[in-house]
């Protein structure tokens, strides 16, 4: 026993180092798995309000630009109104149904922290559970996509930007509806990568990539980017290419969170098929 204590005393620097290092790594990996952990909700209250105060100050420097964006956004929102509705074509069969049922609702929110210089980038916005935001909701700016909600506290939400190694957006070519996956492999925040493009698809620089609507996160038709270059792979079955993001991730002021009002119904449909 005495020898043990002597050993501990002699080697305490190494032991303390190992303890702290293991503690950090455990926190790092557990935390990444469970985004909504207790530690997060503890810290987000304080750090969220510090970020909010700082953002309140810096906001004044970009008022003119923000105003311009807001006016543009208003025009876009007005012109998008019909798309926010689910078109009920079955009117001939169910005459009593109203013609239009709302499918998507948009909640506007202010970005209070944002980064583009990390390998994994996140944003924080000033709305949370209180305003009806939940995990896995999509986030857009105008008609361009930003990312998805990965964690929600009472007043703030944590959003995984498209500039993240875990971000995978299901997109498609606007011209022929061919599906592609959009990713970001680091590097410049202006360019992303598209993968798994079948060989027979003819790509041209400037082709528009939009959301496919296949995932439950984004409705169809939001802008992702335009093809800026591509490689014809010789020995593989798929081609790949680069795209120029439509979104300027470095200048996000106000964003909108998409609430899918029919999500419960869609999920229920999926699970009911699984259980059959």
């Amino acid at each position: 026993m005495r020898n043990l204590f002597l050993f501990l005393r002699k080697q305490y620097f190494y032991i303390l180092f190992l303890l702290l290092e293991v503690l950090s790594l455990v926190l790092l990996f557990n935390y990444n798995e469970f985004q909504g952990s207790a530690l997060y909700s503890l810290s987000s209250g304080f750090t969220g309000s510090v970020n909010a105060i700082f953002s309140n100050i810096t906001e004044y420097f970009s008022l003119r630009a923000t105003n311009k964006v807001l006016v543009e956004e208003m025009a876009k929102v007005h012109s998008r109104m019909p798309e926010a509705f689910y078109k009920n074509d079955t009117a001939t069969f169910f005459r009593k149904d109203p013609l239009l049922i709302m499918e998507f609702k948009y909640i506007s929110a202010k970005v209070i922290s944002n980064s583009t210089n990390k390998r994994n980038n996140f944003l924080m916005i000033n709305k949370g559970r209180l305003h009806g935001i939940e995990n896995h909701m999509g986030v857009i700016i105008g008609n361009r996509i930003v990312g998805q909600v990965v964690s929600v506290s009472t007043h703030f939400s944590w959003i995984m930007s498209m500039l993240n190694k875990d971000s995978r957006i299901s997109g498609k070519f606007k011209k022929n509806n061919q599906l592609v996956n959009v990713e970001w492999n680091g590097g410049s925040y202006r360019t992303g990568q598209i993968r798994e493009i079948p060989k027979h698809i003819v790509m041209v620089k400037g082709d528009t990539i939009i959301t496919s609507g296949n995932s439950d996160i984004f409705p169809e038709g939001f802008l992702i980017g335009t093809v800026s270059g591509f490689t014809i792979a010789q020995d593989e079955n798929f081609n790949f290419g680069n795209i120029l993001f439509s979104t300027d991730f470095n200048s996000l002021g106000y964003v909108e969170v998409i609430v899918d009002l029919m999500r419960m119904e869609k999920e229920k449909l999926k699970t009911s098929f699984k259980t059959q």
Binding site: F13, F17, L20, L23, L25, Y31, S44, F46, S115, G187
Partner: protein, 171 residues
Amino acid sequence: MTSRTVFLNFVRFFFLIALQVLILNHINLGGYVNPYFYVYFILLLPFATPKWMLLVASFALGMGIDLFTNTIGLNAAACVIMAFARPFVISRISSGPESLIGDTPSLRNQGMSWFLYYSISLVMIHHFSLFYLEVFRLGEFFSTFVRVLLSSTFTVMLIMVSEYLFFSKEK
């Protein structure tokens, strides 16, 4: 260690965290290079700091940054590795404990080559751990390595500039 030194280090601790999360984290050169200047705190801890204190203070520093950037454990892990390496780097580049002039490592007391070697090697250790832990994927080995090199250069430049600004006339 006088109470003044302790107080000074406390102030530096909070000041560097605030500087890092409020200003430096918003800087990005060429899209993805950014400085992690807050490690300057670990570099400037007095020579006489107990070794356990070195580890615990660095852990707290990293954790402070992590709470703001929502990367719990990431900066803390890198800072602890850096603090662990500090005594070894110091003993490697100094001829003995009696040869160290002054209480804290500084450009003025230890000279240009000593301080450069000291800051470059520790900053590299920190950035290397930080970036590779963040990416955690071997496929991006070289692009991450370039980021480590560029960001380290940037951080060391900031450290040298502040050495010249704040510590050249002390005493």
